[in-house]
Amino acid sequence: MAAPPTRPLPVADDLSRPFWEAARQHRLVVQRCQACGYFNHPPRSACDACLSPQLCFEPVSGRGTIYSFTVMHQPAVAGFAEQLPYLNILVELDEQPLLFMVSDLPIGEREKVRIGARVEVCFEEIDATLTLPQFRVV
């Protein structure tokens, strides 16, 4: 039996499964509307821009900039107490304005955080079934 998780872990669903399967192969994909070309994240059942249901996952560059960030000082979340204070960043991907992904920053990168800093995707393998796309400053 697997050890109980020490931090919140994502649960894939019908909409998001391709995202997590690609992540396991160290690929970053984002749901894209086949009617209008708009990228949707988190995945939607209809396009945020045109409501088309024709949505497919496509590879993206994995590059972007830090749009905003927070620094958590409160020991509120199990699994993170030893990392305090830790950073969360809101990444705006290069593919589209305001196409956001949330990440933390690896320990050692945290001094480099600033709005506008360039980042690229990296992958943190949790176990055989789960890999988390994460971003680091470039």
């Binding site: 109980p4 998780p5 020490t6 931090r7 919140p8 872990l9 994502p10 649960v11 894939a12 669903d13 998001s16 994240h41 988190p42 945020d48 749009y67 905003s68 960030f69 927070t70 620094v71 958590m72 000082h73 409160q74 020991p75 509120a76 979340v77 199990a78 699994g79 993170f80 107490a81 990392q83 204070p85 830790y86 969360n88 809101l90 305001l98 956001f100 992904m101 949330v102 990440s103 933390d104 709005i115 988390l132």
Partner: protein, 409 residues
């Protein structure tokens, strides 16, 4: 002006003490708050026939409370929601009254916000155990990004950068609300603070310091809505509902995905409806309540509802503008930052008391509307309180509001 402007009134208000912890059930607290609101209005249980509440899976139900108080309901509903629910349920009550579903409606919120379900995510005794991150949360919770301070903090950090505002603007909000709490015997945090105290307080989630964050409290509060005709016969001066908005949404309801930037919040979509329905303009407003889950949520809604321009709130609040006896007194009870946390209903209740000129302060004659206006002696009645705006916040993408007036307006 809206067709229903001034047709319905808030006629009764009441609450339990703000406690940490209450050592009571949400049911017991809700019963006390509803009883107090009925007593305030001079209404008997048999005269109440509607009850609604809002909650986050952390409270009791209308039907349970009504039964215990001897109220037979023609209408009951308990909705899921936190901030912005009060103003929305007032709008909902107006619809029910207008359509004839019931005649007198109680709205309550009861929560053990400190000793039970804590909105900040922690369990009563410490960090929340690992949870399954489902839905949109599967894309952020695993990074430990799990609480409103972190979510709204992301918008706040970008706001500071986009507008050149500094956290001293946050401090102005904290200082004003705390000053009001110092005049409120019910408030938990009553020691006045300075801008420097704010700037020296510890980080909770940067860009928010301790004094940017609301309290967590155990409390129940209730208010009663009925028709103007019924209100005239009751114990208190009626407070008329001029207009409002009910859970106005931004185009994309997901947290932190507002457009054209993440700090363009839902109030921007509600402002013209609010003032249009009330048939007044900003200069007619004598006082406001503005949801202060964090100092930033107050600040950003001043812009969203048009009290100042985009990016101008920092300049607008300088020099104590939000304090009593200044231009736009805000959160006269001390708000969620300093009185206690009720998911918004306590701010509407305070405005009702202000508009009656019967704020429950240190003045011996407050219950008869006799105030000294001597702040050093503990009076917190706004001198010419005629019209109040209540600006509720759910998230960046959800907001509700009300404009109320007293009989002198």
């Amino acid at each position: 002006m809206g067709a229903l402007t001034d047709k319905y009134c808030i006629v009764g208000v009441g609450e339990t003490p703000h406690m940490r912890p209450s050592n009571r059930t949400t049911f017991s607290m809700a019963c006390e708050a509803v009883k107090k609101a009925m007593a305030d209005a001079g209404l008997e249980p048999r005269e109440i026939d509607g009850m609604t509440s809002y909650q986050a899976g952390d409270s009791t139900s209308s039907s349970h409370v009504a039964t215990a108080l001897g109220i037979r309901l023609n209408y009951s509903l308990d909705i899921v929601g936190g901030g912005s629910s009060t103003e929305a349920l007032v709008a909902h009550a107006i619809g029910l009254l207008e359509a004839g579903y019931c005649k007198v409606i109680v709205i309550f919120r009861s929560m053990n916000g400190r000793s039970g379900r804590r909105m900040g995510g922690q369990a009563p005794s410490g960090p929340v155990p690992p949870v399954r991150a489902e839905g949109d949360a599967q894309f952020y919770m695993h990074w430990g990004w799990t609480s409103p301070a972190q979510w709204f903090g992301m918008s706040a950090m970008r706001y500071l950068r986009d507008t050149g505002t500094t956290t001293k603007a946050f401090a102005e909000v904290a200082v004003a609300h705390r000053y009001h709490a110092s005049l409120n015997p019910k408030a938990i945090m009553r020691t006045p603070i300075t801008i420097e105290d704010h700037q020296r307080s510890r980080w909770v989630v940067k860009p928010f310091r301790l004094l940017d964050c609301c309290l967590e409290t155990d409390v129940a509060a209730a208010l009663i809505v009925t028709s103007r005709e019924r209100a005239y016969d009751l114990r208190q001066p009626p407070v008329f509902i001029m207009g409002g908005t009910a859970r106005t949404m931004a185009p994309n309801s997901a947290w932190n995905y507002s457009r054209p930037e993440i700090h363009y919040v839902a109030g921007n979509y509600g402002r013209n409806r609010l003032f249009g329905m009330a048939g007044i303009s900003h200069k007619d407003i004598d006082l406001i309540s503005c949801y202060d889950a964090f100092t930033f949520t107050t600040l950003i809604q001043l812009e969203a509802y048009g009290f100042c321009g985009k990016g101008e709130a920092g300049e607008f609040v300088k020099g104590g503008r939000l304090q009593i006896d200044h231009e736009l007194p805000c959160n006269l009870s001390g708000g969620h930052l300093s009185e206690g946390y009720t998911h918004g209903i306590s701010m509407v209740i305070e405005n009702v008391r202000q508009l009656r000129h019967r704020v429950d302060d240190a003045c011996p004659g407050w219950a008869e509307g006799k105030h000294t206006y001597d702040r050093a002696a503990g009076c917190r009645q706004v001198k010419h309180a005629r019209i109040a705006a209540c600006l509720g916040w759910g998230t960046e993408t959800t907001s509700s509001s009300l404009i109320l007036r007293g009989i002198s307006a």
